[in-house]
Symmetry: C2
Subunit: 218 residues, 2 copies
């Protein structure tokens, strides 16, 4: 079934991981999977540009159909393989509304963590300011507390997980304190045992995590 | 039908407008619509915070169900009112894949324009740099040319429109040159005649547009 699917991916990328979890959940193992190097800028290679003019990963092809945006790929797969593997859009109206709400809050969550973790990567040296670092960290604390509050009210189903939870793995890997954010910690502990998450765990996160402590004091 | 729906909105907001176009397309006129002031920070009022802890607009309620993220609201409405008004998710696989791809490229488009238009709003005075302004403008030109290229290959159906096209109205209102971006210009000309777009046109854009020329030279 998945023989006619190709995923070009990079290790350490949350959007790539999201797609890989989704492919596992939809029982689409056996797809053609090619790991490209961010360091060597292989995402700007002709192979990528041929299907993705943005030169970004993931880049995904199913037969002649190309979808590259990770959320787009998730929706596309759910639509094409509705009755295969895990159902990712709940039928229940309340649950579905909550899923859509949390799912589309996901990018905000990710932006806030990115503004802290990738500050030096994205902002050229001459444009960096302590005041911006402080503001970004404060915004992230607010955001984390918001999600901590969401989890106090109701646990997320796996419907949200493939979209949002992958980010939580990522945050915890960056040494976010599970003491200070116990609900996020619990959720992470549960998510990382999910077979789809285990099967797709990017090697980068295992090898490198010793050095990553950007979120330690958040 | 739409009597049990409430939309709290602000004029000039692309996400709010997106939802209003969607409500028109799904023939859900007659919903309870309350215009709040950004200037007076009414988006942080208790009325908003009661349903939206982020204190943002749009905030949307249907009966007891709350969805606030604009893309989430679009998906929710399409799911609940599938057979009413315009169908917003195409059945055809190719068309659907393309819609998901463009739809989720939309936020990147919006971010790039936002980085130019709102630079002074978001970046405190002491942290502003000409180098950043230059970089943001160049990134926007690249992005605009990408979409111009998309439109050269195939016109968007209305499927994409409610998600993406509202941004194009916005860009053109900010005096983006239809000479330099003729396909975007054509698309805008078509979109603004759509009854749903006309019916929901935010008053802010009519009154204020004389002064807006941030995108004039892009």
């Amino acid at each position: 079934m998945a023989k006619d699917m190709t995923l070009l991916w990079g290790t350490g990328s949350v959007p790539c991981w999201r797609v890989m979890i989704m492919l596992e959940e939809k029982r689409l193992q056996g797809y053609d999977k090619k790991l490209l190097s961010f360091e060597k800028m292989e995402y700007k290679s002709q192979e990528v540009l041929d299907i993705n003019p943005r030169g970004q990963l993931p880049s995904f092809k199913h037969g002649n159909i190309v979808v590259n945006e990770s959320y787009g790929i998730c929706f596309y797969l759910e639509s094409q393989f509705k009755n295969q593997g895990t159902k990712l859009i709940p039928d229940d109206t309340d649950q579905q509304a909550l899923m859509y709400q949390r799912m589309f809050e996901g990018p905000t969550f990710y932006d806030k963590v990115g503004a802290v973790v990738y500050y030096e990567y994205y902002v050229p040296e001459g444009e960096r300011h302590d005041s911006a670092v402080k503001r970004n960290r404060e915004a992230l604390v607010t955001e984390l507390n918001l999600w901590e509050g969401y989890l106090q009210k109701s646990s997320f189903t796996f419907y949200c997980l493939s979209y949002v939870a992958v980010q939580m793995c990522y945050f915890l890997i960056h040494r976010l304190s599970a003491q200070r954010y116990p609900k996020l910690g619990e959720y992470h502990a549960r998510v990382k045992e999910r077979p789809s998450v285990k099967a797709s765990w990017p090697p980068y996160f295992v090898e490198g995590q010793e050095d990553w402590d950007t979120l330690k004091d958040i």
